[in-house]
Symmetry: C2
DNA sequence: CGCAGTCTTGACGGATCTCAATACAGGTGG
DNA sequence: CCACCTGTATTGAGATCCGTCAAGACTGCG
């Protein structure tokens, strides 16, 4: 991943890039102070495993920078990604001692970790964290349900197109650009990770990307750099209602 | 569905069958009083639509009795069930005006509805409802993620076996019987509903049920009445870790 | 009895997976 | 600088699972 900024070091909450979107978004200054006392930063390199399913987990955390994945693996090795963690997303579950999923950094990753016990205590004493966490969890549930439709009913081509739309949207939101400009981004996932996300094999992912390229729906430079010449055309390939709205 | 009890009429919260598991589980007597003032019961027949995706929704609700499904439909008619609503499950999202999914009663159904605006007000003023709703939402998110693994990676046979295990577990919990006894239950879903849940066609569902029957994994009387002679054998067919624990 | 809804079964085709060979890029060491 | 290696991606051939289309069976009901 192209990461021009210097790596984050422990910051004051007031200057935190995810301050207004993370689980702490609604916190009052006094609550923030308490959070500061139980927080610490951890960094991971691309490819590193943050935690294995079944491991004891003494913290919960917010993703500050980078991308991580949440996935489940069956005995025989089949794996399914069940979540994509972007900056401001929350990891872990208050009250749960043991991780339920594998968490893997797909890019270099910085997390703001809170010791679990004190965090749980703060959640009981103050309302704002729990309220925000409820909102975020409801959003994730909606996203999971949208993903169930994709996994259960969409064709391989539609799955790829849907993933590209999601990444394009996320990227646009991050860069604060709007629809009309040309859409260009780098895929943050390997073909294998995309396959795990979409419930496909990596060969099928590769073939469908080639097909979309051949049909002019996308333009590829190298393996990862994507240009979308006509976003509506791509939207039409997702199988979703014509009107999922424009880019954002 | 075989429903021997008389249909529920509006009850006092204190006598409510889902009192200790629903969104109101943690409420103090004073909070319950307030809830009573904003609640009303609604009943639906099997097959009736409770609400269409996109409809305005001025209430949230708990399922008191019966089973409902949450589903999403694509323009061309492909549909995917994204949730199975059992007694004590919560329907709707505080702060959301418009339903995001179709809700359909698969059996006769009774819901305890709360007018949305007053309910939202109560959520802000008192902590217990929000806390309980957060717990329930986190549980649903876990269930959705488990379902993503099923949809993305399991074979048709494994999908059917997994669904049977879920229904058997739910039924055992309801009847309060334990593992060792013979497991017998009625399927609460049509083949088509099962297909929508599992991301299959109804023909494939039918074929796989026949195959499990032929192989002695299940015994069928009529179309809906199922006996599981060897629960561990069925568990082995789900593809999950050998140890998902026994029946409950 | 006939009808509608639900379910089963068969034949066929196609989308996706599996297995395998090859290509490409970046990094390392000679 | 180039050979080599590793991880990632592409492409092909064949197999397989599941979907599609279609016919027919079972059940309950008017």
């Amino acid at each position: 991943m192209v990461l021009t900024e210097p790596p984050l070091t422990q910051t004051d909450c007031a200057e935190c890039p995810i301050r207004h979107r993370a689980v702490c978004a609604r916190c009052e200054p006094t609550e923030l102070e308490q959070l500061e006392s139980m927080k610490y930063y951890r960094s991971f390199e691309a490819g590193q495993t943050v935690i294995w399913s079944g491991d004891r987990m003494d913290f919960v955390a917010s993703v500050v920078e980078g991308i991580a994945t949440l996935s489940q693996t069956m005995e025989d090795g089949r794996t399914q990604m069940v979540g994509l963690l972007l900056p401001s997303d929350f990891v872990g579950r208050p009250g749960r001692e043991v991780a339920a999923y594998d968490v893997i950094a797909t890019t270099s990753l910085t997390m703001c970790c809170f010791r679990r016990k004190p965090f749980e205590g703060l959640m009981i004493k103050t309302p704002h964290i729990g309220q925000r966490l409820l909102e975020m969890t409801l959003d994730e549930l909606d996203a999971a349900r949208e993903w169930m439709l994709l996994l259960g009913r969409k064709t391989a081509r539609e799955k790829i197109a849907s993933l590209l739309v999601i990444i394009a949207r996320r990227d646009a939101a991050l860069k604060q650009v709007n629809t009309t400009t040309r859409i260009v981004f780098d895929l943050p996932l390997t073909r294998e990770a995309m396959a795990d996300y979409l419930g496909l094999t990596l060969e099928t992912v590769s073939r469908q990307i080639s097909a979309l390229k051949r049909d002019g729906v996308i333009v590829l430079e190298g393996k990862r750099h994507v240009t979308i010449p006509d976003f509506d055309r791509l939207l039409g390939e997702t199988g979703d209602d014509a009107d999922g709205g424009p880019l954002i």
